[in-house]
């Protein structure tokens, strides 16, 4: 019972905040609503026994990515841009398409069948603690993708610096 109350609270806030985030005229307000939404998603992860990902969500998403957004918004002078119309002229068409895809997704969930269960049940995770379990899977089975991810981040760092650097005259 208490689980369901918390699930409804978190999901209602997540949906409301994401709607608020994409409809605000001020970009800054949208980013702040996103920040609230990330915290609630992290709370939802705690219910799914994903403590490590929950912490990463707060540290990386709320702490790093949203702060990057805030910095860029404050560096730019958006006074004229926010006076323009927010949505494209044919926004009902976008609403139609996305609600159609939403219907397809919701209906397809009714007949979803899950496959065989893996080895990392609650008891097994409790025995070795969650971060150790995630680390074991990450470094044993997914070591190569992990290295590729570090390369992606390196490219992003260099690319961002090269792109955003002012040209020296």
């Amino acid at each position: 019972m208490i689980n369901q109350i918390f699930f409804f609270y978190f999901s209602a806030v997540i949906v409301a905040m994401s709607v608020m985030a994409i409809t605000r005229r001020q970009v800054l307000h949208g980013v702040l609503y996103m920040l609230l939404m990330f915290f609630h998603i992290a709370g939802l992860y705690l219910f799914l026994n994903a403590e490590f990902i929950s912490a990463v969500q707060i540290i990386v998403y709320a702490g790093a990515i949203m702060v990057l957004f805030l910095f860029v918004i404050m560096l730019l002078n958006l006074r004229e841009d926010i006076r323009k119309k927010q949505f494209i002229a044919v926004w009902p068409m976008g609403l139609l398409v996305s609600s159609g895809i939403l219907m397809v997704v919701l209906m397809s969930m009714l007949t979803v069948r899950t496959g065989t269960k893996g080895v990392w049940g609650i008891a097994q995770i409790e025995r070795v603690t969650e971060t150790v379990a995630v680390g074991t899977v990450l470094y044993m089975q997914y070591l190569f993708p992990f290295e590729v991810a570090s390369l992606v981040l390196l490219v992003a760092i260099i690319g961002a610096i090269v792109l955003a650097k002012r040209k020296v005259k």
Binding site: I53, I65, I88, S98, Q141, L153, A156
Partner: protein, 100 residues
Amino acid sequence: MIPLNWYMWLSGVVFCIGMFGFVTRRNIIIMLLSIEIMFNGVNISLIALSHYLEDLAGQVLVFFIIAVAAAEAAIGLALVMLLFRNKETITVDDLNELKG
């Protein structure tokens, strides 16, 4: 116990809200925010499946998605800054010529 379907429905709703924002907004920063909303919708479903299928591959995948989202945000915002420096606007409707 919460059924798996509820999490999947929540994930679908969040994904479609993000998609609506990406398709209809004209502000590039809000479009990047919508991409983050879509990432988060997918992440919810992956974490829920990882919990209900008792397999940690879902959480590892979410870890990678967060890494790629960070890279994407950095590159995207650098492009936005470059765009603003050249064009003085970040409204996509005003960016209608190929020659910068």
